[in-house]
Subunit: 137 residues, 4 copies
């Protein structure tokens, strides 16, 4: 049996990731089948044209998918892999990576993540991801 993860425990797991701390990521929502991660835009997260670096988007997608999968499978999960497709340059005040479980079995969860750039005048999808999260062992 897997232990249910509370939003508090999920937040502690994120805080225990030094790389997430380096990027300033926060878990702003965590519920069964759903996880939302936010990263505020900072100068040191950009690429050469002033857009948020694709690597920040792929980090956020990876992590949000994992937390969404963990919300239904428990804490002992690994992301097997994922796909991300970029649609627009990532410009705005913050990145919001919103992941949900499409469907799950006892050992695997198929998850998707929509990546929004949020600005003062609204938000828009800039990328989308899909991946599979599995129980370890």
């Amino acid at each position: 049996m897997t232990e249910e993860i509370t939003p508090e425990l999920a937040g502690l797991v994120l805080d225990a990731q030094p790389f997430s701390a380096l990027l300033g990521a926060r878990l702003v929502e965590f519920a069964p089948g759903r996880a939302v991660l936010e990263v505020g835009v900072r100068e040191d997260l950009l690429q050469q044209n002033g857009f948020l670096h694709g690597g920040v988007l792929s980090y956020a997608a990876d992590n949000a998918l994992t937390f969404a999968g963990g919300s239904v499978l428990g804490a002992e999960v690994l992301t097997g892999g994922f796909t991300i497709e970029y649609l627009r340059p990532a410009v705005g005040r913050a990145l919001s990576a919103r992941a949900h479980v499409v469907e799950s079995t006892r050992r695997r969860a198929l998850c998707r993540c929509d990546l929004f750039m949020v600005d003062d005048d609204g938000e828009r999808v800039v990328a989308a991801a899909q991946g599979t999260v599995a129980l370890v062992g």
Copy 2:
């Protein structure tokens, strides 16, 4: 006509990415159809179990794919998206992301990237990626 990119120019592009500087990424090889990016393992790049964070691997895959594509298409390229699959926990001294062009047309390059963890006693593949790089506009 696209302008050919020299290794020096490619290095300058990487240096112009604040996020790559934050992660300490270096372009250790750049030739037509090939690009190798290295990231030394540091405490602040890890996840909660002491492995290199998946987001660092996906960053390196994304960027190495883009540089490999740019090596044949020119500097004005964007990565449309990519897939990464993780096979093993990423443990070692440094990450080496080795990308090459599988095939290209005038406007698109299909690229792959093997992600190795390098340690004092050798190296091993921990993940693999594939993506498409396209000319802008």
Copy 3:
């Protein structure tokens, strides 16, 4: 300017695909941002264990994604690529591949497809796909 595609025109395009005829695929829904393709299960579409072959699912995902993208971009589109993840063996009476546009720009549409197996007692997701459709030229 792209020409809008009516459901009738979309149906004619599908009928003009000999491979879709071979598989008995039908376009059961077509609206702006959405396309649903159905394939009835037949003995000659199975794999060695009696499940619907993964290749039928990937065919349906590919085609449904393309029609969904075409519903917003016009008839002159190509699917650049897609990802499909399998969650369960595909058992049932028919496959229903339900694709929708997540977000689109003038030239590209980011689409997803949920693949359901439908049986007399209900339906369930067996796989999920994501891909990008682009205007030709």
Copy 4:
């Protein structure tokens, strides 16, 4: 312990797939870490513009990846999912899907597949795929 698969056994598995028979697929090479599947071009495998249908390419990629994974993991494997990217219209006399294992653990194999169209005057890559094959159970 997994049982090693001989080329003869692998051929029997392919022959036991009704969908592979419908498409006329043949396993022309099978060795540890490698599998090559061929599909001759026929009128009923095309799409509306006279190219080989993307669904035939995705079928071949899926199946070749699975056989390559099975060559190192044994017969009881499933493909968890895969990505395919199309680079050019598929024109020629036959499709050759050449898959190999990039790296494997005891339970999973990370595989890639290059898809060539073969014609009387040569061959060229038209698509490329990557996926993961895993032991069942």
